[in-house]
């Protein structure tokens, strides 16, 4: 009889735990699609592997053909929660230290967490980035390690909701925090650096040659115009007033969920790419600036308008510049890319570099300092690292 009772209880526990597991796993969409990659100073390609409850990293010494045994970043299970416009970020500094930014449901949904490691073998306990992480929903956090060995975080934060209520919805603020890197990283209290930001579009960030941090964001201008503005954080911590750089006049009281990209070349040229459906322009556009974003070149349209071009990324490696974006024909998602060898003045014809019939992440461009690669993850093929280079056909253009 005791045996029978024990059996019943065991079965009951099993049934309950099965349901608990099933319920928890159903809570969030599949996370493994959300990855991030970067090259270390020794040429190793580091990669984030997302799972439902954990973030791990591994590395490749053969440009993504094979990877090392993964190392877990968060030692305790967390409900990992990223999405297309809110992917994790990975950085490796000049000394080989590894920094990981990721999102997990905590007191607030999709809270930003940070862990770091001296060499990628063991990670610090997760730390919440926002000073008010427990009280206010915040997301779309970006991370950058600058040349002065400081780690920077910027994110979209709803904590100023009351202030925006009078102005209408859809607005939030960008907050920033930075700290010197090292064995122990202590984050000070965060600061607001920008207001009236479109809530659902990722913000882009790059370091200028003078060491300042340049931020490109979709703002909400009067009349619900959702065009882009630039903003600067100088090395002494001063924040500039933002200034508007795109004038497409996209009026929408809604969520475009489509953020811009920014890259700054070693020669100081800014390269920007953005999406709009404005009165004046519609589609993906590229422009460069030689005066630190004060004036932009005439915007060039990128991609075939009939194929829903979007999710563009840009990367400059001195005078080599690559653009990559997604197109869709109803069945196949393709990543197209084009290449410039003269700093964005002339471009190759767009070429299809990868495709999938399944769910895929946004395309990302990375570099090892020698060439530019597409880093892309899709459900069917998994992770792909594809060199983006000028083809022979285009060499005379």
């Amino acid at each position: 009889m005791n045996h029978f009772a024990l059996l019943c209880s065991t079965l009951l526990l099993l049934a309950l735990s099965y349901n608990l597991v099933a319920k928890t796993e159903r809570l969030l969409p599949e996370q493994k699609i959300y990855t991030a990659t970067t090259f270390g100073p020794d040429g190793r390609l580091w990669r984030i592997l997302s799972a439902q409850k954990s973030i791990s990293i591994d590395y490749s010494t053969d440009f993504g053909k094979s990877f090392s045994q993964p190392v877990r970043v968060n030692s305790t299970d967390m409900p990992i929660h990223a999405w297309d416009e809110n992917p994790p970020t990975l950085a490796v500094d000049r000394t080989g230290r590894v920094y990981v930014l990721y999102f997990a449901d905590d007191k607030q949904s999709s809270t930003s967490f940070f862990s770091h490691s001296d060499n990628g073998t063991q990670f610090s306990a997760p730390v919440k980035i926002s000073s008010e992480a427990n009280t206010w929903y915040h997301y779309q956090t970006e991370m950058l390690i600058d040349t002065a060995n400081r780690v920077h975080f910027i994110w979209h934060d709803v904590r100023d909701r009351a202030e925006y209520k009078k102005q209408g919805d859809g607005d939030l603020s960008i907050y920033h925090v930075s700290a010197r890197t090292g064995k122990i990283i202590n984050l000070p209290t965060d600061q607001r650096i920008a207001k009236n930001i479109c809530s659902c579009c990722r913000t882009a960030m790059a370091e200028d040659v003078d060491g300042s941090l340049v931020i490109l964001a979709r703002y909400v201008y009067p009349g619900n115009i959702r065009d882009h503005g630039l903003l600067k954080l100088s090395p002494d911590g001063k924040t500039s007033e933002p200034w508007r750089v795109t004038f497409d006049d996209w009026e929408i009281e809604g969520c475009p969920a489509h953020g811009p990209a920014l890259s700054i070349g070693a020669n100081g040229r800014y390269h920007m790419v953005w999406f709009t459906q404005g009165e004046k322009r519609s589609g993906i556009f590229y422009a460069w600036s030689d005066d630190q974003g004060k004036t932009l070149s005439s915007p060039t349209q990128v991609g075939d308008q009939d194929k829903l071009p979007g999710r563009a990324d840009v990367l400059a490696l001195d005078k080599q510049v690559a653009l990559a974006w997604k197109v869709f024909d109803g069945t196949q998602t393709r990543v197209e890319a084009m290449y410039s060898t003269d700093g964005g003045l002339h471009w190759s014809k767009p070429q299809v570099v990868a495709e999938t019939a399944t769910q895929s992440a946004h395309p990302a461009l990375i570099t090892d300092g020698k060439q530019i690669f597409l880093s892309w993850n899709s459900m069917d093929t998994g992770f792909r690292l594809i060199p983006i280079r000028q083809s022979d056909d285009d060499s005379n253009q």
Binding site: A5, L12, L28, I33, D169, C200, I252, G254, T333
Partner: protein, 164 residues
Amino acid sequence: MKLSKILLTYLLLLSCSIAFPAHAEQVDLKHFTSGSYQQLLNKYADKPFVLMIWSINCTSCKKKMPLLSELRKSMPDINLIMLATDDASASNQALPILTGNELNNADNWIFADANSQKLRYEIDPKWYGEVPRTYFLDKDHQRVGVSGSVSRETLEAMLKTIIN
């Protein structure tokens, strides 16, 4: 006696634990997959309808819900389809929003395919995914699609147009 009590408790709890996920999935919130848009066109053949596409994180979408609810009461002939572009796993977050705005008895759907781009394309090959996105279809299913929040005046005018 003791045994039967344990057994009864066990069976009761087991049935609850089996019933629970079924209850969470129950609904009102149908899974929108490949082919669902065509299914809607068939379901509302020769009938005008409004397809309002929204997301749980979209403030502008939620702001318009009370107005939709109000207009629906004053124009009961309007077929209103609400489609959330969040993953089906977010059903438990979408439902209270619909219920809170008295839209739980609309024809409610939620995206249920990880390849959401494909679902969007089946609805409209020109739509990039911005929300709210509202389609007004007359009885011949001639349609107009609008991105962003729609004002009361536009909504009322469009509703009258598709009914007549």
